[in-house]
Amino acid sequence: MHLVLFFIFGGLCVAGALNLLLQRHPINSALSLIVVMSSLAVLYLLLGAEFLAAAQVIVYSGAIMVLFTFVIMLLNAGREERTHGSKAAYLVGFPGAAALLALLVYVFLSYREQLGGVVLGEYLVTTSDLSRVLFHELLLPFEVTSVLILVAILGAVALARKEQ
């Protein structure tokens, strides 16, 4: 059951990501990104991270992607022109991406013993477990991250502000 769901939503995720690249209209790409994010949420849920799954849907598919579509609608972005791409992409980009993928696969496979594995549907991290880790052991990184986000917001406001 868990495996079937994993394959359905994993496939949906990859299909959405490919569609995101292939679509020529920005709004269709944004919609495919929503599909990718929502199916990722289901994968998190299968791994037992229920809070993360809900937060993924609320924050990413709900709030952030609404802003994306909002901007696309506001700018009324039209269809993209299709070009053949630059030579650099063919010469460096594709081999580079393939090499990175091969390296990652090699590292993950060779360190499989140390990394440990998880069986789908076996774990359940409740919200209180998650918050205990987040607010006890990882309190400093958590607070530093929130300060970082605050700095980013202040920077955005300072840049967007009109001169008086």
């Binding site: 709004i27 849907v57 609320i58 709900g62 802003l67 579509t69």
Partner: protein, 350 residues
């Protein structure tokens, strides 16, 4: 107890069908309630010709919408134009599956009064509500009409802004019950009747009003119905829609109203628990469970009536005032409420 898998599946399917049909009936009669009550507020009768007291009016309205011609404007983006009402309605219908209507009673391993009892029920409700925006946003964009687009832009900005204060207003309740499970939240409030409800005993009345105001904005209801303000935008995002596609937006709006009323009942007014606590005589398990459903329905009806009452009373507010109110007043107030509730809990030592 050994549970037969086929009986389990059959009962669950039956439950889903019954709840969906009931919800759609409630949607139809909420429309009638709105027309009747707004009529009386404006000193006229409202629908009164079809059936006794106009009770058959929703059936006729449904039949009329079903038989109308389904216009397809030439310049729309076809796939998205068709997809948008489906997204809006399905999101509105999915969220009711988290709502418990009555006490925890199982029959052959199936909970009778709730479709699915999930640990993170409240979060799923918020998630589904936040995905529902796309129905409106895509409808406005794909219609290729400036009024529709303006309505959709207003709507998505408004919903994203008020989602924040809506979510934060619920944190106080979650802190008190220490669970996202709607059943736990209700059970915590059922000890002493009215006095232990979150709005009274939990001191969450500020959160209650923040929730109510943000929920009105989320549902695009008056006084926050800017996305479909007929004086400036003809009909906003559903200007180009007709027949069943228009009906789907209409049903989605009223189904959302019902879900919002159910959540307000569960979180702040103690769900199916009686306001008199244990003062009333205990009439056995059957009477107890039916009474629970009765109290739940009565509270939900109160909230639906409030929706109509507010619509009939308050004028629409201006768009920049709406944004200012959400960001500069409701959001800080919701954060203050969280701080106050956590301080109170920490001082009480729980």
């Amino acid at each position: 107890m050994e549970v037969n898998i086929w009986i389990f599946l059959l009962l669950n399917a039956l439950k889903v069908i019954v709840v969906t049909v009931l919800l759609l009936m409630c949607v139809a009669y909420t429309v009638l309630l709105e027309r009747k009550v707004v009529g009386r507020i404006q000193n006229r009768w409202g629908p009164s010709r079809v059936g006794p007291f106009g009770l058959l009016q929703p059936l006729c309205d449904g039949l009329k919408l079903f038989l109308k011609e389904d216009l397809m404007p030439l310049s729309v983006e076809r796939p998205l134009y068709i997809l948008a009402p489906i997204i809006a309605l399905s999101c509105a219908l999915i969220s009711i599956s988290m709502v418990p209507f009555g006490p925890d009673i199982t029959f052959h391993g199936v909970q009778i009064f709730q479709i699915s009892d999930v640990n993170i029920g409240l979060l799923i409700l918020l998630g589904v509500a936040s995905v529902g925006v796309y129905g409106i946003a895509l409808a406005g964009w794909s219609s290729n009409n400036k009024y529709s687009l303006l309505g959709a832009l207003r709507s998505s900005a408004q919903i994203v802004s008020y989602e924040l204060s809506l979510g934060l207003s619920l944190v106080g309740v979650i802190l008190l019950s220490q669970s996202f499970r709607l059943r736990d939240i209700v059970d915590r409030q059922s000890a002493h009747g009215l006095l232990s409800w979150n709005i009274v005993g939990g001191f969450q009345f500020v959160a209650f009003f923040i929730y109510l105001i943000s929920a009105y904005a989320e549902a695009n209801r008056a006084p926050f119905d800017m996305p479909e303000a007929e004086t400036e935008l003809t009909a906003g995002y559903h200007t180009e829609y007709s027949s069943m596609k228009f009906a789907m937006f209409f049903m989605a709006e009223y189904a959302n109203m019902i879900t919002i009323s159910c959540v307000a009942t569960l979180l702040f007014l103690g769900g199916w628990s009686s306001p008199f606590g244990n003062l009333l005589p205990d009439g056995g398990p059957v009477v107890q469970s039916l009474l629970g459903v009765f109290w739940f329905a009565a509270k939900v009806f109160f909230f639906l009536f409030l929706f109509v009452w507010v619509r009939g009373t308050l004028p629409r507010i201006r768009y920049d005032q709406l944004m200012g109110f959400g960001w500069k007043f409701l959001l800080p107030l919701a954060i203050l409420n969280i701080v106050a509730t956590s301080l109170w809990l920490a001082l009480r030592g729980t």
